[in-house]
């Protein structure tokens, strides 16, 4: 988009490979050039559309069932996308029918880990990355750690994992959820791990890994971090600000 002959910009063309950030944007006065301005407007339009894209929960459910996970399809109390966006508390709790469905699955014996896959603010992210991440994670978890039920939730927020985890008597809940779409990343997946999930847990009681996608934190790196956090959370019986990710720097993207 930029003119290769712009002497201000030439040195930057080589550096763009180190970051997806919009570095070295050509100027018109203090402002950016027309080409850069319109590239930004297009990216914003794409992100806006991604926020409102529908979630194909049936596809994700089928993919997980094919891997022999016990899958349950749930929905939050937010009845549609607008209610979901404007009333976060509805996205944090289950609708009644889902609650009943979950009660039927409840077991008396605690399981180690319940997975919750929710669309959040980017259904695109969940559809692309949730299943590959679960594959990578399953390969890294020790044999002694058992993944229990996987819940696929429409219009869910992070805290809905608390109610689901409590209902299934899980020691840990791992919520995989679509993050708010960015201009350069409409498909970032977030992962939130909560020890002893129950309604009312705060964000300080969770560990979060964000920006999971091939151009960000790749599946293998994310799975390695999660496997570490899961093992440590089970060993120390806690998550949150007291549990630091000590795995060191991830393998950095090229």
């Amino acid at each position: 988009m930029t003119l290769p002959t712009d002497p201000e910009i030439d040195p930057w063309n080589r550096l763009r490979r180190f970051t997806p950030a919009r570095i070295g944007l050509a100027r018109a006065g203090a402002a950016v050039t027309t080409a850069e301005l319109l590239a930004f407007q297009l990216a914003h339009a794409q992100a806006r559309d991604a926020v409102h894209a529908p979630f194909d929960a049936a596809k994700v459910t089928a993919d997980l069932a094919a891997r022999r996970y016990g899958v349950v399809s749930l929905a939050s109390a937010a009845s549609d996308r607008d209610a979901y966006l404007m009333s976060p508390h509805l996205g944090r709790k289950l609708e009644d029918a889902s609650r009943w469905r979950l009660a039927e699955l409840a077991c008396d014996f605690a399981c180690d880990l319940v997975l919750v896959v929710a669309d959040g603010l980017s259904a695109v992210a969940v559809q692309r990355h949730a299943v590959p991440l679960i594959d990578a994670l399953a390969a890294r978890l020790g044999k002694e750690i058992k993944i229990g039920t996987v819940a696929v939730v429409e219009r869910g927020r992070v805290a809905i994992g608390d109610e689901i985890g409590a209902a299934l008597n899980a020691r840990l809940a791992l919520v995989l959820i679509g993050e708010r779409p960015g201009l350069s990343s409409p498909d970032s997946l977030g992962a939130y791990l909560t020890w002893a999930p129950k309604t009312g847990r705060t964000d300080a009681e969770r560990n979060c890994i964000s920006n999971i996608r091939p151009q960000g934190l790749g599946y293998e790196d994310a799975a390695a971090k999660l496997a570490y956090l899961i093992a440590e959370a089970l060993r120390r019986e806690l998550t949150g600000v007291m549990l630091k990710d000590e795995t060191g720097p991830a393998v950095l993207a090229p």
């Binding site: 201000e8 040195p11 930057w12 550096l15 763009r16 180190f18 970051t19 997806p20 950030a21 919009r22 570095i23 070295g24 944007l25 100027r27 006065g29 203090a30 402002a31 950016v32 850069e36 930004f40 407007q41 990216a43 914003h44 992100a47 991604a50 926020v51 966006l85 404007m86 976060p88 508390h89 603010l121 993050e179 708010r180 779409p181 960015g182 201009l183 350069s184 990343s185 970032s188 705060t202 964000d203 300080a204 890994i209 964000s210 920006n211 151009q215 960000g216 934190l217 971090k225 949150g240 600000v241 630091k244 990710d245 000590e246 795995t247 060191g248 720097p249 991830a250 950095l252 993207a253």
Partner: protein, 455 residues
């Protein structure tokens, strides 16, 4: 009971908390909390009732009980009665008139700050128009110092925000160099790490410190990680300039951030003990934003603007270098659109300055809000006119790690040109020495060399 009568009809409000909430200009977060006025007329009735309320009332009635909340306790226990004396006879409406009048110059406004409670500042903001929020704030300068001088009249600074999705050092460095060439970075060079492992944070701190020393930049750095992580890093000898923490206006909301007032005091002491500031000892960097208490269900039936002002009551205990309202980050359920974000940004800046804080603003929005870059331009010009201490400088206004839009290096340049504002003086001298003040993106040899070394 607090009340107002309009055309023979009496509007009663149960208590201070209720009248404050109902007097707040419309925003989605207060509707979500169920505390907003039920009609446009009830809102104005609440504003009228609030305007007639004596400021002294705020010292006898709290919005959250004293016994229940440590933020309330610090507000009441640390109130400066002597500073309050010159305005103690006024109502909220009378305070607005006084703030706008020629009787309140910069010296009077600076002196009265410690005498105002956050709730008083919030109340007067509710009955101010945008014009008032700008005009009053423009009379107040709050100066803070670490390695340079921020907040002087006629200056506009920026946090250089070089975030990267995987914290790649080369990517971060490329963004920093781009920002420096365009004049950003005098407030702080501050990274939000994608992963907040202590090792990762230490590596980033070392990267920032090496860069600062190699280029001899009169500024400070920060890796925005939890205060407990920063404490551990300081104890381990990492080069921590500023200690960052998100804070809110209730004890429960701070607990949701995993932070207590005692923890902040410990971090402030630890940072001061490192003696890394050359010009001053302001070493704390706080971020806030309307709606944070509600999002952790810790709002106690209060409106979000009042609670935001109470977060400033927490901040002013710790003599911060930077206080940043990340106004539009939280999303449309709290601030629905550009109009609500713009007003909230101006309210936050106004309340913070009135309470004596070095206020900056992350002029920003998310992709699920009804806002765009036009709204950011509007708020940038308004806040620049109001004398905001600092804004964000993000490459192309697109934060590729946090996934939201802010202001760009180019926006900072444009605002400085348009409004006649200059960088912090020490940083300005450094830019001049590098040839960057006369010509942004001139390639001074040390920076050209660093760019060349990125392979």
């Amino acid at each position: 009971m607090i009340a107002a009568t309009i055309a023979g009809q009496r509007y009663g409000f149960d208590d201070l908390r209720v009248v404050m909430a109902k007097a707040t200009p419309l925003r989605s977060g207060d509707i979500l909390a169920g505390v907003a006025a039920a009609s446009a007329v009830e809102r104005v009735a609440a504003q009228m009732a609030l305007a007639d309320l004596p400021l002294k009332h705020f010292l006898s009635e709290t919005v959250i009980p004293y016994e229940r909340d440590d933020v309330t306790r610090l507000i009441i226990d640390r109130h400066d009665a002597a500073a309050f004396a010159p305005v103690s006879h006024l109502t909220v409406g009378g305070l607005r008139d006084w703030l706008l009048s020629d009787a309140s110059g910069p010296d009077q406004l600076k002196a009265v700050g410690p005498g105002l409670t956050p709730e008083m500042a919030a109340a007067v903001a509710k009955i101010c128009r945008v014009q008032d929020l700008v005009a009053i704030a423009a009379k107040i300068s709050v100066v803070s110092r670490f390695r340079n001088t921020l907040g002087l009249p006629g200056r506009l600074s920026a946090r250089l925000q070089p975030n990267h999705p995987t914290d790649d050092p080369k990517g971060i460095l490329a963004s920093i160099l781009d920002g420096l060439l365009l004049g950003s970075g005098d407030a702080v060079i501050g990274i939000n790490p994608a992963g907040d492992s202590p090792d990762r944070c230490r590596d980033l701190l070392v990267l920032l410190d090496d860069l600062r020393l190699r280029l001899d930049i009169p500024t400070q750095s920060c890796v925005l990680t939890h205060v407990t992580t920063a404490l551990g890093l300081m104890n381990a000898g990492a080069p921590v300039d500023l200690v960052f923490q998100s804070i809110a206006g209730t004890e429960d909301a701070n607990a949701a951030f995993g932070v207590t007032i005692a923890m902040l005091a410990e971090a402030q002491d630890a940072a001061a003990g490192l003696k890394r500031g050359t010009l001053g000892t302001n070493a704390m960097y706080f971020e806030t934003g309307q709606g944070s208490a509600l999002s952790s269900d810790a709002h106690h039936g209060c409106d979000q603007q009042t609670l935001e002002a109470r977060a400033y009551g927490v901040a002013r205990l710790f003599a911060p270098l930077l206080v940043n309202s990340v106004v539009g980050f939280i999303g449309p359920e709290y601030l629905f659109d550009g109009k609500q974000i713009i007003r909230a940004g101006l309210e936050d800046h106004f309340c913070g300055k009135l309470l004596g804080l070095p206020m900056g603003c992350d002029i920003c929005y998310t992709n699920h809000a009804e806002a765009d870059q036009d709204d950011m331009d509007t708020l940038l010009v308004l806040l620049g006119t109001a004398g905001v201490n600092f804004i964000m400088g993000v490459p192309g206004a697109d934060d590729v790690m946090l996934n939201y839009q802010s202001t760009s290096f180019h926006d900072l340049l444009a605002a400085r040109e348009l409004l006649g504002r200059r960088p912090a003086p020490e940083f300005e001298a450094w830019l001049a020495g590098m040839g960057l003040l006369a010509r942004p993106r001139a390639l001074p040899a040390p920076i050209a060399k660093m760019m060349e070394s990125l392979r």
